[in-house]
Symmetry: C2
Protein backbone atom coordinates (compact mmCIF):
# COMPACT_ATOMS: atom_id res chain seq x y z
CA UNK A 1 0.00 0.00 0.00
CA UNK A 2 1.67 3.15 -1.14
CA UNK A 3 1.41 6.35 0.79
CA UNK A 4 -0.57 9.11 -0.82
CA UNK A 5 1.68 11.93 -1.91
CA UNK A 6 -0.46 14.85 -0.94
CA UNK A 7 1.04 18.00 -2.33
CA UNK A 8 0.71 20.94 0.03
CA UNK A 9 -1.02 23.37 -2.30
CA UNK A 10 -0.08 26.98 -2.84
CA UNK A 11 -1.97 28.30 0.17
CA UNK A 12 -0.16 25.97 2.56
CA UNK A 13 3.15 26.77 0.89
CA UNK A 14 2.54 30.47 1.24
CA UNK A 15 1.63 29.99 4.90
CA UNK A 16 4.81 28.11 5.65
CA UNK A 17 6.93 30.60 3.73
CA UNK A 18 5.48 33.59 5.54
CA UNK A 19 5.64 31.82 8.89
CA UNK A 20 9.32 31.08 8.41
CA UNK A 21 10.08 34.63 7.41
CA UNK A 22 8.30 35.97 10.44
CA UNK A 23 9.95 33.52 12.82
CA UNK A 24 13.50 34.03 11.63
CA UNK A 25 13.12 37.78 11.62
CA UNK A 26 13.26 38.39 7.87
CA UNK A 27 9.95 40.11 8.33
CA UNK A 28 10.58 42.44 11.23
CA UNK A 29 7.80 43.34 13.67
CA UNK A 30 5.90 46.31 12.35
CA UNK A 31 6.63 45.48 8.73
CA UNK A 32 3.56 45.83 6.56
CA UNK A 33 2.36 43.07 4.28
CA UNK A 34 0.38 43.78 1.16
CA UNK A 35 -1.41 40.94 -0.56
CA UNK A 36 -0.50 41.98 -4.06
CA UNK A 37 3.17 42.37 -3.22
CA UNK A 38 3.37 38.97 -1.60
CA UNK A 39 1.52 37.41 -4.49
CA UNK A 40 4.06 38.82 -6.90
CA UNK A 41 7.02 37.76 -4.75
CA UNK A 42 5.83 34.19 -4.33
CA UNK A 43 4.57 33.94 -7.88
CA UNK A 44 0.99 33.04 -7.01
CA UNK A 45 -2.31 34.84 -7.13
CA UNK A 46 -3.79 36.78 -4.25
CA UNK A 47 -6.22 34.02 -3.34
CA UNK A 48 -3.82 31.62 -1.60
CA UNK A 49 -2.04 34.60 -0.04
CA UNK A 50 -5.31 35.75 1.44
CA UNK A 51 -5.88 32.37 3.05
CA UNK A 52 -2.37 32.22 4.44
CA UNK A 53 -2.70 35.72 5.83
CA UNK A 54 -6.01 34.86 7.46
CA UNK A 55 -4.40 31.92 9.27
CA UNK A 56 -1.45 34.02 10.37
CA UNK A 57 -3.80 36.66 11.70
CA UNK A 58 -5.73 33.96 13.53
CA UNK A 59 -2.45 32.83 15.06
CA UNK A 60 -1.90 36.34 16.38
CA UNK A 61 1.27 36.82 14.37
CA UNK A 62 -0.27 39.52 12.22
CA UNK A 63 -2.62 42.34 13.04
CA UNK A 64 -4.67 44.75 11.00
CA UNK A 65 -3.06 47.92 9.75
CA UNK A 66 -6.08 49.59 8.21
CA UNK A 67 -5.38 51.09 4.86
CA UNK A 68 -1.89 49.62 4.82
CA UNK A 69 -2.80 45.96 4.83
CA UNK A 70 -1.51 43.83 7.68
CA UNK A 71 1.58 44.21 9.79
CA UNK A 72 3.71 41.81 11.78
CA UNK A 73 2.63 42.13 15.40
CA UNK A 74 5.19 43.43 17.84
CA UNK A 75 6.27 41.01 20.50
CA UNK A 76 5.52 42.53 23.85
CA UNK A 77 6.64 41.04 27.10
CA UNK A 78 3.22 40.54 28.62
CA UNK A 79 2.00 38.57 25.66
CA UNK A 80 5.12 36.45 25.67
CA UNK A 81 4.54 35.70 29.34
CA UNK A 82 0.97 34.68 28.56
CA UNK A 83 2.20 32.27 25.93
CA UNK A 84 4.66 30.80 28.38
CA UNK A 85 2.07 30.42 31.11
CA UNK A 86 -0.05 28.34 28.81
CA UNK A 87 2.86 26.32 27.56
CA UNK A 88 3.81 25.65 31.14
CA UNK A 89 0.44 24.03 31.75
CA UNK A 90 0.41 22.19 28.46
CA UNK A 91 3.93 20.84 28.80
CA UNK A 92 3.23 19.87 32.38
CA UNK A 93 0.17 17.97 31.27
CA UNK A 94 2.05 16.27 28.47
CA UNK A 95 4.87 15.17 30.76
CA UNK A 96 2.44 13.85 33.33
CA UNK A 97 0.50 11.88 30.72
CA UNK A 98 3.69 10.57 29.18
CA UNK A 99 4.84 9.25 32.54
CA UNK A 100 1.41 7.70 33.04
CA UNK A 101 1.69 5.98 29.70
CA UNK A 102 4.98 4.44 30.79
CA UNK A 103 3.47 3.55 34.13
CA UNK A 104 0.58 1.72 32.49
CA UNK A 105 2.85 -0.10 30.08
CA UNK A 106 1.26 1.86 27.24
CA UNK A 107 4.71 2.17 25.76
CA UNK A 108 8.05 0.64 26.46
CA UNK A 109 10.35 2.63 28.69
CA UNK A 110 13.35 1.34 26.81
CA UNK A 111 12.34 2.90 23.52
CA UNK A 112 11.32 6.13 25.22
CA UNK A 113 14.67 6.36 26.92
CA UNK A 114 16.51 5.60 23.70
CA UNK A 115 14.56 8.08 21.57
CA UNK A 116 14.82 10.75 24.24
CA UNK A 117 18.55 10.38 24.68
CA UNK A 118 19.05 10.64 20.93
CA UNK A 119 17.30 13.99 20.81
CA UNK A 120 19.16 15.21 23.87
CA UNK A 121 22.47 14.27 22.31
CA UNK A 122 21.60 16.19 19.16
CA UNK A 123 20.58 19.19 21.24
CA UNK A 124 23.82 19.24 23.17
CA UNK A 125 25.74 18.96 19.94
CA UNK A 126 23.87 21.92 18.47
CA UNK A 127 24.86 24.03 21.44
CA UNK A 128 28.53 23.11 21.32
CA UNK A 129 28.53 23.75 17.58
CA UNK A 130 26.84 27.10 18.14
CA UNK A 131 24.12 26.45 15.55
CA UNK A 132 21.14 28.61 16.46
CA UNK A 133 18.79 27.07 13.96
CA UNK A 134 19.56 23.55 15.13
CA UNK A 135 19.16 24.56 18.77
CA UNK A 136 15.59 25.69 18.21
CA UNK A 137 14.89 22.70 16.03
CA UNK A 138 16.02 20.21 18.65
CA UNK A 139 14.22 22.06 21.41
CA UNK A 140 11.03 21.74 19.41
CA UNK A 141 11.84 18.11 18.66
CA UNK A 142 12.21 17.25 22.33
CA UNK A 143 8.96 18.80 23.42
CA UNK A 144 7.11 17.45 20.40
CA UNK A 145 8.29 14.01 21.37
CA UNK A 146 6.78 14.41 24.81
CA UNK A 147 3.54 15.58 23.26
CA UNK A 148 3.59 12.57 20.99
CA UNK A 149 4.08 9.94 23.66
CA UNK A 150 1.53 11.62 25.94
CA UNK A 151 -1.19 9.84 23.99
CA UNK A 152 -3.15 13.07 23.66
CA UNK A 153 -2.90 14.18 20.04
CA UNK A 154 -4.53 17.51 20.77
CA UNK A 155 -1.70 18.76 22.94
CA UNK A 156 0.55 18.95 19.91
CA UNK A 157 -2.10 20.93 18.05
CA UNK A 158 -2.74 23.31 20.91
CA UNK A 159 0.92 23.88 21.61
CA UNK A 160 1.69 24.62 17.97
CA UNK A 161 -0.07 27.93 18.34
CA UNK A 162 2.29 29.04 21.08
CA UNK A 163 5.39 27.63 19.48
CA UNK A 164 4.71 29.69 16.40
CA UNK A 165 4.90 32.77 18.53
CA UNK A 166 7.75 31.73 20.76
CA UNK A 167 10.03 30.65 17.94
CA UNK A 168 10.39 34.31 17.06
CA UNK A 169 11.48 35.30 20.52
CA UNK A 170 13.80 32.36 20.88
CA UNK A 171 15.50 33.17 17.62
CA UNK A 172 15.97 36.79 18.63
CA UNK A 173 17.43 35.97 21.99
CA UNK A 174 19.60 33.07 20.96
CA UNK A 175 21.26 35.17 18.29
CA UNK A 176 22.33 37.82 20.75
CA UNK A 177 22.30 36.69 24.33
CA UNK A 178 24.41 34.07 26.00
CA UNK A 179 23.53 30.50 25.32
CA UNK A 180 21.18 28.70 27.65
CA UNK A 181 23.53 26.48 29.58
CA UNK A 182 21.27 24.16 31.42
CA UNK A 183 18.19 23.58 29.34
CA UNK A 184 19.35 20.20 28.17
CA UNK A 185 20.07 19.19 31.74
CA UNK A 186 16.48 20.11 32.49
CA UNK A 187 15.28 18.16 29.48
CA UNK A 188 17.23 15.18 30.69
CA UNK A 189 15.68 15.44 34.14
CA UNK A 190 12.21 15.51 32.61
CA UNK A 191 12.99 12.48 30.50
CA UNK A 192 14.30 10.65 33.53
CA UNK A 193 11.12 11.32 35.42
CA UNK A 194 9.05 10.02 32.52
CA UNK A 195 11.16 6.91 32.15
CA UNK A 196 10.89 6.40 35.90
CA UNK A 197 7.10 6.55 35.46
CA UNK A 198 6.71 9.36 37.98
CA UNK A 199 3.84 11.56 36.70
CA UNK A 200 3.91 14.13 39.49
CA UNK A 201 7.62 14.73 39.22
CA UNK A 202 7.54 14.88 35.44
CA UNK A 203 4.76 17.43 35.51
CA UNK A 204 6.51 19.54 38.09
CA UNK A 205 9.83 19.52 36.26
CA UNK A 206 8.23 20.35 32.94
CA UNK A 207 6.32 23.27 34.38
CA UNK A 208 9.40 24.53 36.13
CA UNK A 209 11.43 24.19 32.97
CA UNK A 210 9.08 26.43 31.00
CA UNK A 211 8.88 28.99 33.78
CA UNK A 212 12.65 29.17 33.90
CA UNK A 213 12.79 29.65 30.15
CA UNK A 214 10.29 32.45 30.50
CA UNK A 215 12.20 34.36 33.15
CA UNK A 216 15.45 33.86 31.28
CA UNK A 217 14.00 35.28 28.07
CA UNK A 218 12.33 38.11 29.94
CA UNK A 219 15.65 39.17 31.43
CA UNK A 220 17.40 38.88 28.09
CA UNK A 221 14.80 41.09 26.43
CA UNK A 222 14.70 43.66 29.21
CA UNK A 223 18.45 44.22 29.16
CA UNK A 224 18.55 44.65 25.41
Amino acid sequence: MKQISVQPGRAELAYQALLDEICDGSLAPGATLVQEELAAQLGVSRQPIQQALARLKGDGLLEDAPGRGLCVSRLDLSRMRSHYEIRSSLDGLAARLAASQVLQQGLSRATVEQDGRTIIAKGRRAISNDEVKAMIQQDIAFHSYIYEISGNALIETSAQLHWRFLRRVMGDVLRKAQRPPSIWDQHEAILNAIVAADPELAEHLAEQHIELACTRLTQALETS
Copy 2:
Protein backbone atom coordinates in the same frame (compact mmCIF):
# COMPACT_ATOMS: atom_id res chain seq x y z
CA MET B 1 -17.76 59.44 20.45
CA LYS B 2 -19.66 56.65 18.80
CA GLN B 3 -18.26 53.18 18.47
CA ILE B 4 -17.45 51.93 15.02
CA SER B 5 -19.84 49.25 13.90
CA VAL B 6 -17.50 46.86 12.17
CA GLN B 7 -19.55 44.47 10.09
CA PRO B 8 -18.36 40.88 10.33
CA GLY B 9 -18.00 40.12 6.63
CA ARG B 10 -19.49 37.21 4.77
CA ALA B 11 -16.71 34.78 5.61
CA GLU B 12 -17.09 35.34 9.35
CA LEU B 13 -20.84 35.11 9.04
CA ALA B 14 -20.59 31.83 7.19
CA TYR B 15 -18.19 30.50 9.81
CA GLN B 16 -20.53 31.34 12.66
CA ALA B 17 -23.53 29.94 10.83
CA LEU B 18 -21.84 26.62 10.07
CA LEU B 19 -20.38 26.44 13.57
CA ASP B 20 -23.80 26.87 15.13
CA GLU B 21 -25.34 24.25 12.88
CA ILE B 22 -22.63 21.78 13.77
CA CYS B 23 -22.82 22.47 17.49
CA ASP B 24 -26.57 22.22 17.83
CA GLY B 25 -26.70 19.08 15.73
CA SER B 26 -28.48 20.45 12.67
CA LEU B 27 -25.50 19.14 10.75
CA ALA B 28 -25.14 15.60 12.03
CA PRO B 29 -21.73 13.93 12.24
CA GLY B 30 -20.94 12.28 8.94
CA ALA B 31 -22.99 14.76 6.92
CA THR B 32 -21.16 15.90 3.82
CA LEU B 33 -20.68 19.54 2.99
CA VAL B 34 -20.23 20.77 -0.56
CA GLN B 35 -18.99 24.28 -1.15
CA GLU B 36 -21.39 25.07 -3.94
CA GLU B 37 -24.42 23.89 -2.00
CA LEU B 38 -23.54 25.93 1.05
CA ALA B 39 -22.86 28.95 -1.11
CA ALA B 40 -26.30 28.65 -2.61
CA GLN B 41 -27.97 28.13 0.77
CA LEU B 42 -26.30 31.10 2.40
CA GLY B 43 -26.61 33.28 -0.66
CA VAL B 44 -22.91 34.04 -1.03
CA SER B 45 -20.20 32.95 -3.38
CA ARG B 46 -17.89 30.02 -2.81
CA GLN B 47 -15.00 32.22 -1.73
CA PRO B 48 -16.15 33.08 1.81
CA ILE B 49 -17.47 29.54 2.20
CA GLN B 50 -14.05 28.19 1.38
CA GLN B 51 -12.47 30.32 4.08
CA ALA B 52 -15.05 29.32 6.67
CA LEU B 53 -14.58 25.66 5.80
CA ALA B 54 -10.84 25.98 6.10
CA ARG B 55 -11.18 27.36 9.62
CA LEU B 56 -13.64 24.66 10.60
CA LYS B 57 -11.29 22.01 9.29
CA GLY B 58 -8.47 23.60 11.23
CA ASP B 59 -10.64 23.40 14.35
CA GLY B 60 -11.03 19.67 13.79
CA LEU B 61 -14.78 19.89 13.32
CA LEU B 62 -14.60 18.87 9.69
CA GLU B 63 -12.48 16.33 7.88
CA ASP B 64 -11.78 15.53 4.27
CA ALA B 65 -14.16 13.27 2.38
CA PRO B 66 -12.25 12.94 -0.90
CA GLY B 67 -14.48 13.23 -3.88
CA ARG B 68 -17.45 14.14 -1.73
CA GLY B 69 -16.19 17.37 -0.23
CA LEU B 70 -15.91 17.62 3.54
CA CYS B 71 -17.85 15.86 6.26
CA VAL B 72 -18.65 16.66 9.88
CA SER B 73 -16.20 14.70 12.00
CA ARG B 74 -17.67 12.06 14.26
CA LEU B 75 -17.25 12.63 17.98
CA ASP B 76 -15.37 9.71 19.43
CA LEU B 77 -14.80 9.22 23.12
CA SER B 78 -11.03 9.27 23.06
CA ARG B 79 -10.94 12.61 21.34
CA MET B 80 -13.47 14.02 23.74
CA ARG B 81 -11.30 12.90 26.62
CA SER B 82 -8.32 14.58 25.03
CA HIS B 83 -10.23 17.82 24.81
CA TYR B 84 -11.21 17.55 28.44
CA GLU B 85 -7.68 16.81 29.57
CA ILE B 86 -6.50 20.01 27.99
CA ARG B 87 -9.39 22.01 29.31
CA SER B 88 -8.63 20.68 32.75
CA SER B 89 -5.15 22.16 32.58
CA LEU B 90 -6.31 25.39 31.02
CA ASP B 91 -9.15 25.95 33.45
CA GLY B 92 -6.88 25.07 36.34
CA LEU B 93 -4.36 27.62 35.16
CA ALA B 94 -7.04 30.26 34.72
CA ALA B 95 -8.45 29.71 38.20
CA ARG B 96 -5.00 29.85 39.77
CA LEU B 97 -4.14 33.07 37.95
CA ALA B 98 -7.48 34.59 38.82
CA ALA B 99 -6.92 33.89 42.49
CA SER B 100 -3.43 35.38 42.18
CA GLN B 101 -4.91 38.50 40.66
CA VAL B 102 -7.19 38.86 43.64
CA LEU B 103 -4.30 38.14 45.97
CA GLN B 104 -2.18 40.86 44.42
CA GLN B 105 -5.02 43.35 44.49
CA GLY B 106 -5.05 43.30 40.70
CA LEU B 107 -8.81 43.36 40.91
CA SER B 108 -11.32 43.91 43.63
CA ARG B 109 -12.65 40.81 45.30
CA ALA B 110 -15.99 42.50 45.81
CA THR B 111 -16.69 42.93 42.10
CA VAL B 112 -15.46 39.43 41.36
CA GLU B 113 -17.76 37.99 43.96
CA GLN B 114 -20.69 40.03 42.70
CA ASP B 115 -20.17 39.21 39.01
CA GLY B 116 -19.60 35.56 39.80
CA ARG B 117 -22.69 35.19 41.90
CA THR B 118 -24.77 36.80 39.18
CA ILE B 119 -23.67 34.20 36.67
CA ILE B 120 -24.17 31.40 39.16
CA ALA B 121 -27.70 32.58 39.88
CA LYS B 122 -28.51 32.62 36.17
CA GLY B 123 -27.08 29.14 35.79
CA ARG B 124 -29.16 27.72 38.61
CA ARG B 125 -32.22 29.36 37.14
CA ALA B 126 -31.54 27.78 33.75
CA ILE B 127 -31.42 24.36 35.36
CA SER B 128 -34.63 24.77 37.31
CA ASN B 129 -36.32 26.10 34.18
CA ASP B 130 -34.99 23.16 32.19
CA GLU B 131 -33.58 25.35 29.41
CA VAL B 132 -30.80 23.41 27.72
CA LYS B 133 -29.57 26.26 25.59
CA ALA B 134 -29.32 28.59 28.57
CA MET B 135 -27.51 25.94 30.61
CA ILE B 136 -24.73 25.70 28.09
CA GLN B 137 -24.65 29.44 27.66
CA GLN B 138 -24.23 30.11 31.36
CA ASP B 139 -21.67 27.36 31.73
CA ILE B 140 -19.63 29.04 29.01
CA ALA B 141 -20.22 32.41 30.62
CA PHE B 142 -18.86 31.27 33.96
CA HIS B 143 -15.70 29.79 32.60
CA SER B 144 -15.18 32.69 30.23
CA TYR B 145 -15.39 35.00 33.19
CA ILE B 146 -12.61 33.11 34.93
CA TYR B 147 -10.52 33.29 31.77
CA GLU B 148 -11.16 37.00 31.61
CA ILE B 149 -10.12 37.84 35.14
CA SER B 150 -7.09 35.58 34.93
CA GLY B 151 -5.25 38.40 33.20
CA ASN B 152 -4.05 36.05 30.49
CA ALA B 153 -5.95 36.88 27.32
CA LEU B 154 -4.59 33.86 25.49
CA ILE B 155 -6.36 31.36 27.71
CA GLU B 156 -9.69 32.45 26.30
CA THR B 157 -8.35 32.02 22.77
CA SER B 158 -6.86 28.60 23.44
CA ALA B 159 -9.91 27.34 25.24
CA GLN B 160 -12.25 28.44 22.46
CA LEU B 161 -10.91 25.63 20.33
CA HIS B 162 -11.98 23.03 22.83
CA TRP B 163 -15.28 24.65 23.66
CA ARG B 164 -16.22 24.53 20.02
CA PHE B 165 -15.87 20.79 20.14
CA LEU B 166 -17.36 20.21 23.55
CA ARG B 167 -20.47 22.29 22.93
CA ARG B 168 -21.59 19.57 20.55
CA VAL B 169 -21.24 16.83 23.13
CA MET B 170 -22.80 18.87 25.90
CA GLY B 171 -25.83 19.63 23.79
CA ASP B 172 -26.27 15.98 22.93
CA VAL B 173 -26.03 14.78 26.48
CA LEU B 174 -28.04 17.53 28.13
CA ARG B 175 -30.94 16.88 25.82
CA LYS B 176 -31.17 13.24 26.79
CA ALA B 177 -29.45 12.41 30.04
CA GLN B 178 -30.30 13.55 33.52
CA ARG B 179 -29.36 17.06 34.41
CA PRO B 180 -26.05 17.71 36.09
CA PRO B 181 -27.07 18.37 39.63
CA SER B 182 -23.94 19.69 41.22
CA ILE B 183 -22.00 21.60 38.65
CA TRP B 184 -23.14 24.95 39.96
CA ASP B 185 -22.11 23.93 43.45
CA GLN B 186 -18.70 23.21 42.01
CA HIS B 187 -18.67 26.52 40.21
CA GLU B 188 -19.53 28.22 43.45
CA ALA B 189 -16.70 26.47 45.24
CA ILE B 190 -14.26 27.59 42.57
CA LEU B 191 -15.48 31.15 42.83
CA ASN B 192 -15.13 31.05 46.60
CA ALA B 193 -11.54 29.91 46.32
CA ILE B 194 -10.78 32.72 43.90
CA VAL B 195 -12.44 35.31 46.09
CA ALA B 196 -10.53 33.90 49.05
CA ALA B 197 -7.34 34.45 47.03
CA ASP B 198 -6.26 30.83 47.31
CA PRO B 199 -4.52 29.94 44.03
CA GLU B 200 -3.72 26.34 44.85
CA LEU B 201 -7.22 25.49 45.95
CA ALA B 202 -8.79 27.28 43.01
CA GLU B 203 -6.58 25.40 40.58
CA HIS B 204 -7.31 22.09 42.21
CA LEU B 205 -11.06 22.62 42.27
CA ALA B 206 -11.16 23.78 38.67
CA GLU B 207 -9.20 20.77 37.45
CA GLN B 208 -11.36 18.44 39.46
CA HIS B 209 -14.50 20.07 38.13
CA ILE B 210 -13.51 19.44 34.52
CA GLU B 211 -12.46 15.88 35.23
CA LEU B 212 -15.81 15.20 36.84
CA ALA B 213 -17.59 16.66 33.85
CA CYS B 214 -15.56 14.38 31.62
CA THR B 215 -16.37 11.19 33.47
CA ARG B 216 -20.01 12.17 33.69
CA LEU B 217 -20.26 12.76 29.95
CA THR B 218 -18.32 9.59 29.23
CA GLN B 219 -20.78 7.55 31.23
CA ALA B 220 -23.75 9.24 29.60
CA LEU B 221 -22.39 8.50 26.16
CA GLU B 222 -21.44 4.91 26.92
CA THR B 223 -24.86 4.02 28.21
CA SER B 224 -26.64 5.53 25.22
